[in-house]
């Protein structure tokens, strides 16, 4: 185990590669005299963000709020739907088929309809974020709820457990690792959903920043928004990952870290 495979080493690796990338980008823009409206140098992009932090901050927060609310709704509704699918044959046959059909429609195609229904505020963005994020969450939660060992279910029956006891004390915790896998995909999808909504019609958010900068060829502003999107998107993913580590320390893929290896 050298320094580069340690945790600090890995972080430093990423930072160095990013700095290197920006330096090459910066140099290329100056050496080849690329026009700023085609490709602004990174220094200009960062200067733009730093010069008006409140404005960028406000738009970032709007997108973040849409994503978070859409995602939260997707988790809540997704869990309820998954429980219905696992426990009722009828719900499985109807809702499940409907979900698959819904998911095959590109959500961008529905976005204008949501604007008509919900107006140009944050509601249609939440709706689109929800609609995209809910599918992976339902699929993975169903998978998780079904992955309980048959012997475990026999044990629950032998203890005369009620359906509720078995669900909350056994099935739900068993499903958590799988649910988190779905939520990691879901949070990225919700993020895409809110940007898609903002593109169609909006007065705020990072999608609005990009959309409104495009007619005036304000490439610097577009890049600034993209940079903020990358930062926020990465942060959202790691928030879910952190929650996963906190809530399911027994999860197989984490056992290697810290826990002593079981020996017979």
């Amino acid at each position: 185990m050298g320094f580069w495979s340690s945790k600090k080493g890995r972080v430093l690796n990423v930072v160095l590669v990013l700095i290197g990338f920006c330096l090459i980008w910066e140099a290329a823009v100056h050496v080849f005299a690329i026009k700023a409206f085609l490709l602004p140098p990174p220094s200009k992009v960062i200067t733009d963000i730093v010069s008006q932090p409140l404005w960028y901050g406000m738009h970032t927060l709007v997108t973040l709020k849409e994503t978070a609310l859409g995602f939260a709704l997707a988790v809540l509704v997704g869990l309820i739907m998954a429980i219905g699918i696992v426990f009722s044959r009828f719900v499985e046959q109807t809702l499940y088929t409907f979900l698959v059909a819904m998911n095959s429609i590109p959500k961008v195609a529905i976005a204008p309809l949501f604007i008509v229904w919900f107006g140009a505020g944050i509601e249609p963005k939440i709706a689109i974020a929800f609609l995209i994020a809910v599918f992976p969450i339902v699929i993975d939660t169903v998978l998780g709820l079904r992955s309980v060992e048959p012997d475990m279910l026999d044990l629950a029956r032998s203890m005369r457990g009620s359906a509720m006891q078995t669900l909350w004390k056994i099935r739900f915790p068993t499903a958590l690792p799988s649910m988190f896998a779905g939520m990691k995909v879901g949070i990225s999808f919700a993020f895409i959903g809110s940007i898609v909504g903002e593109f169609v019609a909006s007065q705020a958010g990072l999608g609005f920043v990009i959309d409104s900068a495009q007619p005036t060829f304000d490439t610097t502003r577009i890049f600034a928004a993209i940079l903020l999107l990358a930062v926020v998107g990465t942060a959202l993913f790691y928030v879910i990952e952190l929650a996963e580590r906190t809530f399911i320390p027994w999860h197989v893929s984490r056992r290697r870290e810290g826990a002593p290896a079981p020996s017979h």
Binding site: D151, D154, L155, R157, S158, M159, R160, K169, P173, W250
Partner: protein, 279 residues
């Protein structure tokens, strides 16, 4: 430790059924057929067996002989195709109370501490876990696991995990303990250890234990009686009394009396074509 000791005779229900008080489980004319697309499979055919209160009975047979299915029928986890299973004279229609169960996989809940795993049946019965902590710790002490009460299953070895599963099976002090190949997934040395511990516990408590295994020496070592089963269809071919002195130590397996039982059962299997005769 005295709470663990239970006299099967005084525990007989209301004294009315004295005639059958020494029969704890009665299995009569039991058939179990599984229906599948490829046709019906007769897992169990015409099973008749009386299990006496306080005996250690092993059900021994090759894989596919329906021994686990038989255990699940006693546990009220299977619908019977024909016949009946009665516990203390009452037909089993749902999982019986006063019964503990241990599987081959320990099926511990990874998110609960060892102590909370042992207390799971208490929670499911909606009893106050606070009142059962002492009992749980006492059981863990019996298996030398009290130091691990606050640890989690994934921090334990396979043998320790199975000991926790046995504690969970014993927490409500059941009169009947059903064990479905509980040591089948363990290495030979750990298996020996657990055989000794189980023998010691049975000595102390005289619970009725139904033990499923495919190991001939294990069945002989632990049991008062061994039920030998064959397959296609799953049926009982022989019930053998094991008259070896107790308490039994591991070296009993090298005595002529012990090897005689093992040889006898092996020859039974050979006669059925289940085991091939070596040259």
């Amino acid at each position: 430790m005295s709470e663990l000791v239970r006299d099967p005779v005084t525990e007989a229900p209301n004294g009315a059924s004295d005639a059958v008080s020494d029969v704890y489980v009665r299995i009569s004319g039991l058939d179990k057929t599984y229906h599948s697309e490829r046709g019906d499979v007769e897992a169990l055919k015409a099973i008749d067996l009386d299990i006496r209160g306080g005996e250690f009975i092993s059900i021994l047979g090759p894989s596919g002989c329906g021994k686990s299915t038989l255990l699940k029928c006693i546990a009220g986890l299977e619908d019977l195709t024909a016949g009946a299973v009665d516990i203390r004279g009452r037909p089993v229609t749902a999982p019986p109370l006063d019964t503990g169960i241990v599987f081959q996989r320990d099926v511990l809940l990874d998110w609960r501490s060892v102590l909370d795993n042992v207390l799971l049946p208490i929670e499911f019965a909606r009893l106050k876990t606070r009142n059962w902590r002492e009992k749980a710790l006492e059981l863990l002490h019996l298996f030398e696991l009290e130091a691990f009460a606050d640890r989690f299953p994934w921090e334990l070895s396979g043998g320790m995990r199975q000991r926790v599963a046995i504690c969970r099976g014993l927490i409500r002090d059941p009169a009947l303990l059903l064990m479905d190949e509980p040591f089948g997934a363990l290495d030979a040395i750990t298996r020996d250890e657990l055989n000794l511990e189980l023998e010691r516990i049975w000595e102390r408590t005289h619970k009725t234990i139904v033990f499923i295994t495919h190991s001939i020496p294990e069945a002989v070592f632990l049991s008062s009686r061994v039920v030998v089963m064959s397959r296609n269809p799953g049926r009982i071919v022989e019930v053998l009394d094991i008259e070896l002195d107790r308490p039994r130590a591991l070296d009993i397996r090298e005595t002529p009396a012990f090897t005689k039982y093992v040889r006898h059962i092996r020859e039974t299997f050979e006669g059925l074509g289940i085991m091939k005769r070596g040259r």
